[in-house]
């Protein structure tokens, strides 16, 4: 039994006019403990919605989420989300944002222990000296470092990353991805990440789930990425398998883009044969 099981989950939204829109259907994804799984797909394939369902912030229309043997349908401290728009509380300082999470997760700790723990994470993400700044005074990269620290401090069973670096400039993104890899290596968290960034997905993940385009998007295939860890960006990028996986995913996304399928000269969504590309390093 896998640690996190997404079992035949579908999501249908009721539209204002009374009609309904099926965003994705029958998604089945099993994630083992300590595994880093990314989901890649076009906008509108519902990958963020699926992440919210795993987080308990939204309900599936059909199917179930099973974490560590138990079905879950509400949010909990065993799952923390790092949001694309950071979602820090703007009236609180960096320290207060993280402190709120730590206090919620470890209510039994005494004041000093909580303080030391918060400070340790602030140092870990390189925010020492900025702990008393409000998020508005920070760059996007620094804000997301707070977001990462907030999520990691809680020590969740599953970390959910919702396009975490999409709003961060390219140079900062590289650094913060490396930091995320570092933190993940140290904690061995189970991670589910949603992203548009193919290179990011390959660099960070053990497996990459590819979604066809919405509406009625489906999980088409899962790509295994078997590069050894810890990974070093420059080395990974030089591997021939890296180029092959990247080409495969980009090809997949291109074949599945809405413009092409609307033209009718490409295979329709979901018709692609599910085939795993296995990269042996």
């Amino acid at each position: 039994m896998a640690f996190l099981e997404v079992e035949q989950v579908s999501k249908t939204f009721t539209e204002a006019g009374g009609g309904s829109l099926c965003v994705f259907k029958d998604v089945r994804l099993h994630i083992d403990k300590g595994q880093f799984v990314a989901m890649v797909g076009h906008s509108g394939c519902g990958k963020s919605t699926l992440l919210n369902i795993i987080a308990g912030l939204e309900q599936p229309s059909r199917g179930a989420i099973i974490l560590d043997g138990k079905e879950i349908d509400t949010p909990g401290l065993d799952r923390m989300v790092v949001f694309q728009n950071f979602s820090l509380l703007p009236w609180m300082t960096v320290y207060e944002n993280i402190h709120l999470a730590v206090k919620a997760a470890f209510a039994q700790w005494d004041r000093q222990k909580i303080h030391d723990y918060v400070q340790r994470y602030i140092h870990m993400v390189g925010l020492a000296g900025s702990e008393h700044k409000k998020p508005a005074a920070l760059s996007g990269g620094m804000r997301q470092r707070v977001g990462l620290a907030r999520a990691f401090t809680v020590q969740p069973k599953v970390l959910l990353l919702d396009e975490p670096f999409a709003q961060i400039d390219a140079l900062t993104r590289v650094n913060i991805q490396d930091e995320l890899m570092h933190m993940w290596t140290a904690t061995q968290n189970t991670v589910f990440m949603v992203t548009h960034d193919v290179e990011e997905a390959i660099l960070l993940s053990d497996r990459i789930a590819l979604m066809t385009s919405g509406p009625e998007a489906e999980l088409a295939e899962i790509v295994d990425v078997r590069f050894p860890r810890p990974r070093i960006r420059e080395q990974v990028m030089d591997l021939p398998e890296y180029a092959r996986i990247k080409k495969h995913i980009i090809q997949f996304l291109k074949n599945n883009s809405r413009e092409v399928s609307a033209g009718g000269d490409a295979p329709a969504a979901g018709v692609l044969v599910a085939k795993s590309v296995v990269a042996e390093a």
Binding site: A55, G56, L57, P75, G76, L77, R79, M80, V81, F83, N85, S87, L89, P90, W91, M92, L100, A101, A104, A105, K134, P135, A136, V154
Partner: protein
């Protein structure tokens, strides 16, 4: 148009402002010059008002019986009523507003009534209060209460209902208790809207207290204005009117700085 530096522009504004004041005072002085022989003949001149103002400001806290109290004493009575009625309204309106803001169905159900009650002049309630409470002082406080209630309630409910989904998601993920959620997320997130309501209503409450005190009599700046009118002491009336304006500005400045401290940038 030529670009002006900020300081030059500010100085220009100040000069225009003072020039207009000087113009107004001299027109007033000239038009009232002929009529300074008796208290009943025409409006008092600015110099007469100034003299009266000086007299009252130099001894603001004397108390020589029910119809002869210093301006400071009268203002203190009014501000005391304001504080009681306004604080009560703030507590009731913010609590109720949070409940309405968090429950869309309750909000929808009560909103039509709030919309009907909101435009009613707070003074219109006076007869009902006098009849039910049978105490003029308490009735005046209730008028303040009614004048402040609706703007605070409407703004709080609006602010809480409009809290960004993201902030509530964070509080859900962290499994914050109801109490913690209220004080760490809901109230700070809605604070700018709530303070905007507080600021609007402190103004309308201060306007209402003058009128209420004219009706109930006894004490307060409103009663003072009415009493001096009965004595045909128009320079006192004018001075008192200006004082209410100054107090109103001070109250507004206070809430302005509160708004500044509680606002946040996303």
């Amino acid at each position: 148009m030529k670009q002006l530096s900020v300081t030059v522009q500010r100085r220009r504004t100040q000069v225009i402002s003072l020039a207009l004041l000087a113009l107004f005072l001299s027109v007033w002085q000239l038009s009232t010059k002929a009529a300074t022989t008796g208290p009943s003949k025409g409006l008092p001149s600015p110099t007469a008002v100034g003299a009266r103002a000086w007299e009252m400001i130099s001894d603001p806290f004397y108390d020589r019986g029910p119809n002869d109290k210093g301006i400071g004493v009268q203002l203190a009575y009014s501000l005391g009523r304001l504080a009681v009625g306004y604080s009560a309204a703030a507590v009731v309106a913010i609590s109720l507003g949070v409940l309405l803001g968090l429950s869309p169905s309750l909000y929808g159900a009560l909103n039509p009534y709030i919309q009907v009650l909101k435009p009613i002049s707070p003074l219109a309630w006076m007869p009902l209060f006098l009849y039910t409470i049978k105490d003029s002082g308490m009735s005046a406080i209730m008028v303040i209460f009614m004048s402040s209630l609706w703007p605070i309630l409407a703004n709080t409910a609006f602010g809480v209902a409009g809290i960004k989904r993201d902030y509530l998601n964070v509080s859900a993920l962290l499994q914050l208790s109801w109490f913690k959620r209220l004080f760490a997320v809901v109230l700070p997130a809605a604070a700018p809207a709530i303070v905007a309501g507080l600021r609007i209503s402190i103004g309308s409450a201060w306007v209402a207290i003058i009128a209420a005190e004219m009706l109930i009599g006894g004490t307060g700046i409103g009663y003072f204005v009415w009493n001096e009118w009965n004595n045909l002491q128009l320079s006192s009336v004018i001075f008192a009117i200006l004082m209410t304006g100054f107090v109103g500005v001070l109250l507004d400045l206070g809430f302005g700085s509160l708004a500044k401290t509680l606002s946040y940038k996303e």
